[in-house]
């Protein structure tokens, strides 16, 4: 059960991230997509989680976290499976694709 849900999340993340990046240039021919989309989206998190996900305070760092873990946390917050003070409200602002892109970006940042 646990494995299965994790596997599904991973598969979803990879599929979505891949689809987003691959489809972007053609699907949004009228709306240019920057190759820095993931970086730009992830920059929204830095106010609380630190530049490139490196927190200098009590808020957890995101840098170096496995993408699958970040995706699971964000989707659980978003879907009401994990309680929070603020993340359950902010997570509702992002699509699966956007969450996958941000998670992928943070997974590649040095701790």
């Amino acid at each position: 059960m646990h494995f299965q849900s994790r596997f599904r999340v991973r598969a979803l993340a990879l599929t979505l991230a891949g689809a987003m990046l691959a489809a972007a240039p053609s699907a949004f021919a009228q709306a240019p997509v920057s190759k820095h989309l993931a970086r730009n989206l992830a920059a929204q998190c830095a106010n609380c989680h630190g530049t490139n996900g490196n927190s200098v305070s009590d808020v957890p760092s995101l840098a170096g976290a496995r993408a699958i873990d970040t995706i699971k946390k964000m989707t659980d917050y978003r879907d009401g499976k994990m309680p929070g003070t603020i993340m359950h409200q902010l997570a509702k602002g992002y699509s699966d694709e956007q969450i996958a892109l941000m998670a992928d970006f943070f997974s590649k940042q040095a701790k």
Partner: protein, 431 residues
């Protein structure tokens, strides 16, 4: 006098020849060509918007763009958390951060007062005569006051007595000193102008902080909130619960309290309706508009008060190659004038400016998120949060439906997070 004077400009011929030599290079967007000068970005205002833009342009361009940050102050002093200095649980040093942390990014720092710019020649002018050529100019000048509506506060002397303390720094300390010097049983009154103003929850948080201080040090003293608005502008339920609960008998809130003027000598508000009102410590937040450099150089094209921009690049719709961030903006619906928001503006603008100056694609999708924490006392905190996305059809930012929200009640966990937020956002701007 304050706007850019062309004759003065022509006199400083040395600066012009440098400007002329570099302006064309930046336009080509070929920053990587060996030997060519790098494109130049000059940023005015080292607050949440400007410092963030400076750091992120330097970081994201990986040295391909020459970044200069002009700031009048010697250190950053945070408006968020500055109400805690009034409450007494923090000192001004706790909310100040040096600018030296930006040096490692190769950012040039200039301490000075920017007064105007020549949009054709693309040169910024400082009060001391310095001229800084730019390819892209980014202004993050915050707010200034519309003092013409309150003649009683025209003089610096009057404003030194009836303080605003709406830009953190010496006035914050001065207002704290007025509160500690106030007699037991006295009244602190805060007047709030009609929205929009910088930091919508800020005046109400301030009332809580002063009430918390009074409860400990001067329990017979009162806090009187005189709000020109019809109702509490932000976090109404949470603040009202505090005033009717924890601070019952200390805080009184009155709506629709418009003023005609202020008599600083006697600490008196001249009310539009009703009797004059005198307080032992009077705190007046004058009506606000975009910062002086924006207002005095024709960038305030929204009701002559705020600045309109393209939300994908933050470029002014009035003047090309000039970008504007933060509290000076004509906000999109439900987007507060907050430091957190200005920091997010800074990053969207940074990404766009780097793309524009290096021949890259400017993203047609931008998102920003907001989090505003308010301290009820020294440890218990509430928040309001929102997520905003660019809507191509409306060409503005709209809130993402279903996202965002408020705290259910003041709580200790968010007190920890609010302090952590401050440390991280200050580091995100300045280190």
């Amino acid at each position: 006098m304050n706007s850019f004077n062309r004759r003065d400009f022509v006199k400083s011929a040395g600066a012009i020849s440098i400007a002329g030599a570099t302006a064309g290079v930046g336009l080509s967007g070929c920053a990587s060509v060996g030997g060519a000068a790098k494109p130049k970005v000059v940023i005015v205002g080292g607050g949440f918007g400007g410092a963030t833009a400076a750091k992120y342009i330097a970081m994201w361009s990986e040295g391909k763009i020459d970044v200069t940050l002009v700031e009048r102050g010697s250190a950053f002093v945070s408006c968020p958390l500055s109400n805690l200095v009034l409450g007494g649980s923090k000192s001004i040093g706790d909310i100040s951060v040096a600018y030296g942390g930006l040096d490692k990014y190769g950012i040039k720092r200039v301490q000075g007062e920017a007064t105007g710019f020549n949009a054709d020649k693309k040169v910024l002018a400082l009060a001391d005569g310095t001229r800084l050529p730019y390819d892209r100019l980014i202004l993050s000048p915050g707010i200034d006051f519309m003092l013409e509506s309150l003649p009683g506060l025209a003089s610096a002397e009057a404003r030194g007595k009836v303080l605003a303390a709406w830009k953190a720094g010496p006035e914050t300390v001065a207002l704290r000193n007025q509160l500690t010097a106030m007699k037991e049983g006295g009244v602190f009154a805060i007047h709030i102008p009609k929205a929009p103003f910088r930091c919508p929850p800020g005046p109400y948080e301030r009332a809580c902080q002063v009430a918390w201080y009074f409860q400990q040090a001067k329990p017979k003293s009162k806090v009187l909130i005189l709000d020109a608005n019809e109702d509490v502008v932000s976090k109404k339920g949470l603040f009202m619960a505090a005033w009717n609960g924890k601070f019952k008998g200390v805080v009184e809130y009155r709506n629709n309290q418009e003023i005609q003027d202020v008599d600083a000598k006697t600490n008196t508000l001249k009310m539009t309706f009703g009797d004059d009102l005198r307080a032992d410590v009077l705190n007046v937040l004058p009506p606000m508009r975009a910062g002086n450099i924006a207002t005095q150089n024709g960038l305030n094209n929204s009701n002559k008060r705020w600045c309109q921009i393209d939300w994908l690049t933050y470029e002014s719709t009035a003047v090309k190659n000039v970008h504007i961030l933060g509290d000076s903006l004509q906000i999109a619906p439900l987007m507060p004038k907050s430091g957190h928001m200005a920091n997010q503006h800074g990053k969207v603008c940074a990404a766009a400016v780097v793309a524009l100056l290096t021949g890259d694609v400017v993203s047609a999708a931008s998102m920003v998120a907001n989090t505003c924490y308010s301290f009820i006392d020294d440890k218990n905190v509430v928040h309001v949060a929102s997520v905003h996305r660019y809507d191509a059809a409306q060409k503005t930012m709209v809130t993402v439906a279903g996202a965002g929200g408020l705290s259910p009640s003041p709580n200790l966990a968010e007190g920890v997070y609010a302090n952590s937020w401050a440390k991280n956002i200050w580091a995100d701007m300045l280190t």
